[in-house]
């Protein structure tokens, strides 16, 4: 599992892996928002947590179709399926690699982009924390969606349609943590619920992903 994880991370980080793409996409989304709603801090600051969470969520979505598709094209996925590691472990490792190459950098970059949107300083830390806790769930759900659509010719758009409704609970709790952090309110309950969603996804979704992969590889 560790080897699959490090292999995937290496593939993503090296040239042609598209590692920087999701970060660049995140930056562009955040830069475009003031053009849409106006540059006043009074407008931007209240919506900043939501915008940053939405931007991170969409940036996560971008790299999802690569999770299994490339391995399927060159046959590596068939080898992984016959490897001694259970397919559930492969699914978890794949999600972990996806998180390390998108969720983690997005979470670390978000406070800097929050400055652009005029988010009050105490909110920066909680924004990063909420993203760190929430993005693993996004990667796991996304990996499940990628497993459902891996055999399809035009899976990309369908993947978004399948995955985005599943992102609703994570987005609600995550953006709420970031918003309460910025306003200095108590944020225990949403943070705990966000952690619960992520923990539930870690526990259950690898099995669903593996089940979908077995069908797709049949």
């Amino acid at each position: 599992m560790i080897r699959i994880l490090s292999r995937d991370v290496a593939l993503a980080v090296r040239a042609g892996g598209g590692f920087g793409l999701s970060l660049a996409f995140f930056l562009i989304v955040v830069v475009l928002v003031p053009f849409g709603v106006g540059p006043e801090t009074a407008v931007l600051a209240p919506i900043a947590p939501g915008i940053l969470w939405l931007g991170a969520l969409l940036a996560c979505l971008l790299s999802l179709d690569r999770v299994f598709a490339l391995d399927r094209e060159d046959g590596a996925l068939d080898l992984l399926a016959t490897a001694p590691v259970p397919l559930e472990g492969v699914a978890l490792a794949k999600a972990g690699a996806h998180w390390l190459t998108t969720g983690l950098p997005l979470s670390l970059a978000a406070p800097f982009l929050a400055v652009l949107l005029g988010l009050p300083a105490p909110g920066h830390l909680w924004l990063a924390v909420s993203l760190l806790v929430g993005t693993p769930a996004l990667s796991l759900i996304g990996t499940f969606g990628a497993a459902l659509t891996v055999g399809l010719k035009r899976g990309g758009l369908l993947l978004s349609l399948l995955v985005l409704p599943l992102y609703v609970p994570t987005l609600i709790f995550g953006a709420d943590v970031a918003r309460r952090g910025a306003e200095g309110l108590a944020l225990g309950p949403p943070l705990a619920l966000l952690g619960a969603v992520t923990a539930g996804c870690v526990a259950l979704l690898p099995f669903a992903t593996a089940a979908a992969l077995r069908v797709s590889l049949r």
Binding site: L148, L158, L162, P165, V168, P169, L205, V215
Partner: protein, 246 residues
């Protein structure tokens, strides 16, 4: 040879077709009768509400369709489980057949709610937990149907959509509670419940029950008809394949 009769014997497509063929016209007629009686009674022979006026009568479309929108998804969940566990093709096809009916029910509930909300709440749409949950349910239906449409091999499609239905059900329930957490509601509490005293006065209640029965029957009849069509389509496909092989 001993033949054991059980519910599972209807999983045989031939048996399913033979049983449902005489049943379907009766079911359809009963559904139509219930709907006509319930709606005419509800629309023309019940008094106006003292506060809501005549707008209260949209309840006869709104409540049954909302009820069936959720129950249709629940039926798809059960059918998906049966397919995954026992591999009965009729079950998978019934789940496929129920989705467009369910999505229509969801749409009817959303639209009638908006039509009622416009004069009563002063807005077509509010980000109320119940309304939002229904919109999310609508998106789940769309994703489920899109996945069915995208996969060519029918068994693969049945497997993948079933897995999606299971995961989607968990997330649908989760979303319902997340949305409750996120915003306080404008929508009134449940109109009907099994364990509490009713919120609906008797004059409105009885035609409402007739309408609900009509919607349930309509749903069953539509799903049966659509499942029969799916089975016929599969047979036709098999025949064409065989012809091409020969």
């Amino acid at each position: 040879m001993q033949t054991e009769m059980s519910l599972w014997s209807y999983a045989n497509p031939t048996r399913f077709m033979a049983t449902t063929r005489p049943l379907l016209p009766w079911l359809s007629a009963l559904a139509a009768a219930c709907l006509v009686v319930g709606l005419v009674w509800g629309f023309f022979f019940t008094p106006d509400d003292y506060r809501q006026g005549s707008t209260v009568k949209i309840i006869y479309l709104h409540v049954p369709s909302a009820l069936m929108a959720i129950n249709a998804w629940f039926m798809m969940l059960v059918a998906s489980l049966i397919w995954l566990i026992r591999r009965h093709h009729v079950s998978a096809l019934a789940a496929k057949a129920a989705a467009p009916v369910g999505v229509t029910m969801t749409l009817v509930a959303l639209v009638t709610g908006a039509v009622w909300g416009s004069p009563m709440w002063g807005t077509w749409w509010a980000w109320d937990p119940r309304l939002t949950s229904f919109l999310i349910l609508f998106l789940f239906y769309l994703g489920y149907m899109a996945l069915w449409a995208a996969i060519e091999d029918p068994d693969t499609a049945a497997d993948l959509t079933s897995v999606l239905c299971l995961v989607g059900s968990v997330f649908a329930v989760l979303s319902r509670y997340a949305v409750n957490f996120w915003n306080q509601g404008l929508h009134q509490g449940a109109s009907l419940s099994l364990d509490k005293e009713e919120n609906v006065a008797d004059v409105f209640y009885i035609p409402l029950l007739v309408c609900i029965a009509g919607f349930v029957l309509l749903f069953v009849a539509l799903v049966l008809a659509r499942t029969r069509t799916e089975i016929r389509a599969r047979r036709l496909h098999a025949l064409q394949l065989r012809e091409r092989m020969a």
